[in-house]
């Protein structure tokens, strides 16, 4: 075990894997000497050279498409997008090409491609650089979606993503890069996709959250304990594939569900969880499932406004109390 930051956990995992398999390379903006804007590729070019750690022009569509072509031609590319908001610049390549190639080729292509980058609020980057976009990639079939909330989860999930022969959208969070945690040193440490993690056990209400909101929900859970409400906090870790069984089992136990995410509440992935849980555990529900998410406006620059638009810990506490009829 080592204590590492989330960013270092990402960096070390990429390094381990590139060492192990010469077919893996990474390309993105500012990832070579700069080591990535968030340090996720720091010094990797020194060990692996500038062919395998290569700076790209600012051409997201071309980079993503090139990643796809290289994967079809036998390499295992990692594409770093500086902000996952920039997936919008490469949407055709992502959703029409990467996601669909294997299927529409009748299963005759293997696409071991990882598209990774960070997203979310926390640095005052304003509306087009602070979004949470994972819901879109959950919606269109053909892409796996992973969202680690801790350094260990980042390391384990990223290794699984890199070794997966399928395209994976890997969402990191800008406000989590500096968080520290224990990470196993095992160079084969992998966390399987499709296995949710119960970050805190409880008996009165099930709270589901990802990325930054896992930590916020754990804080809310501590507040709730003081009021005698025992919350169970679950991190799905991957939205595709989704471990709905763990969540359903939890709700059958507690009778109550609150889903909290940074993605917009309206048509966010929380709605999918709430709906699936209602179908599977209707008889066990004491209250209707509740979702919290970002409001229906672009993320404002001003910090106070940003706080007003995004779910706060007090709101999570209130929502949990409400479904407990307290």
């Amino acid at each position: 075990m080592s204590i590492k930051t989330y960013a270092v956990a990402v960096r070390d995992t990429i390094g381990d894997e590139m060492r192990r398999d010469p077919k893996i390379f990474i390309m993105g903006e500012d990832i070579e000497k700069q080591g990535g804007i968030f340090g996720c590729t720091r010094d990797l070019y020194k060990e692996f050279g500038t062919d395998r750690v290569r700076n790209t022009p600012i051409s997201e569509a071309a980079i993503v498409g090139a990643g796809l072509g290289a994967a079809c031609a036998g390499m295992r590319p990692i594409v770093e997008l500086m902000y996952m908001d920039f997936t919008f610049c490469a949407m055709d390549q992502l959703l029409n090409q990467v996601a669909k190639t294997r299927y529409i080729f009748g299963g005759k292509a293997k696409i071991p491609l990882v598209i990774r980058g960070q997203q979310g609020i926390g640095r005052g980057n304003a509306a087009t650089h602070s979004q949470s976009v994972e819901t879109i990639f959950m919606h269109f079939p053909g892409l796996k979606v992973a969202c680690p909330s801790t350094p260990a989860d980042a390391a384990g999930l990223l290794r699984t993503a890199i070794r997966d022969d399928n395209p994976v959208m890997f969402f990191e969070h800008k406000a989590l890069y500096a968080t520290k945690g224990e990470v196993p040193d095992d160079p084969d440490f992998m966390i399987p996709f499709g296995k949710a993690d119960i970050k805190k056990e409880g008996s009165d209400v099930t709270i589901v959250a990802n990325l930054l909101y896992v930590g916020r929900c754990l804080e809310a859970a501590a507040e709730l304990e003081k009021e005698g409400i025992s919350a169970e906090v679950i991190d799905p870790r991957t939205l595709v594939p989704l471990d709905i069984d763990t969540i359903v089992r939890s709700v059958k136990k507690t009778g109550r569900l609150v889903v909290v995410h940074e993605a917009h509440k309206n048509a966010g992935w929380g709605a999918e969880i709430a709906s699936q849980v209602t179908e599977a555990a209707f008889r066990y529900l004491d209250a209707p499932p509740v979702r919290l998410g970002t409001a229906a406006c672009p993320l404002p620059f001003n910090l106070g406004l940003e706080g007003a638009a995004t779910p706060q810990i007090s709101e999570i506490v209130e929502a949990a109390k409400k479904v407990c009829y307290r």
Binding site: K252, F282, L285
Partner: protein, 419 residues
Amino acid sequence: MAEIIIMPKQGLQMTEGTIIRWLKQEGDAVKAGEPLFEMETDKLTITIDSTAEGSLLKILRPAGEVVPITLPIAVVGAPGEDWSALPGLAASGDEPVQPSAQASDGRIFASPRARLRAEEKGIDIGAVAGTGPDGLIIERDVLAVAPAAAKASPLARKVAEQAGIDIAAVTGSGPRGKIMANDVRTAAASTAPDEEDTVIPLKGMRKVIAQRMKQSLADMAQANHRMTVDMSEIVRLREQLKALSVKVSYNDFVLRATAKALSEHRNMNASMGDDCIILKNAVNLGMAVAADNGLVVPVIKNADRLSLTELAAKSSELAGRTKENRLQPDEMTGGTFTVTNLGMYEVDSFTAVINPPEAGILAVGKMRKMPVVLPDDSIGVRPLMQLSLTYDHRIIDGAPAAAFLLRIRTLLENPALLM
């Protein structure tokens, strides 16, 4: 503090009850769990125990009055206590106080989980007060009905103590969730369903049978006699009739013998009344039939006045219509004695449960060839059939019951007497 006694909801459809009589007078001491009044609803008379302890301070609604459920009917408290300001007294209008969880069309608003808990605990969800938004019945409301230590009948406490059960963990099915003795007995045996178990809600015929069986055993003192009948003569007679194209089943012979025996032993053709025994005039013989959805007992009216062949025809016809679900209501009521035959299911003998309010039931087993000791002490083979009579010992004692059973045997072993 003084407590209000309300007209309790006793049945799913019950909206009001009639106070038949008060078992205590104003000023009497009342213990929790002690019978306080009798009420009637839907032809059922129920004795209600007091849910409070103290002195019966006031009877708000006298005997004979029809009171909507949940309305106050009496006050119990410390002698001399001023109870005029008790909350809840204000609700004394003529319409039943709707718990707001109930819509005016009778719909009950409860969360799915609350309903699940109510089912598991055998609680009537409609009787639970809802504390959720707009009076929604939520889980903890149902859990709260599993009462605190006070709300159990004295007999229930005794049974719990003897069985080593924590009474607080038992769900009560009495008025307002009170724990009754049978609840404790049930709790001793049952567990809540696991995830993998199949839960079948108790309703319809199954529910009725469950209630009646329980009630039968709870109310009566049932005892049992057995005799083995040599059916050789019946077998011979039946063959003769068959050769003449007359179809009579073995069970028809039993019905004929039983009907005749009942006409001679009127004390078996009886039922328990209010502090009295009623000897029924007509011999209305019920025959148990296993229908698709449960046990049904169609009744052959005045069976003692029918000849063997008439009885055979009637029993066959009733059995047929029972299986097709085409019985008339009056063909299912008015029975005075029941015959039940599990011979076709290979059962040799069994103990049947009396169909209330009858006094007895005859259980017939399978006829089998068995070795017997003949009068000259040699061994022979005879077709034997076992009869088992369950009778209500409150109405009839062992000896007369034995005489009745013996008469049936005699008739079957000497069918000439059936003419």
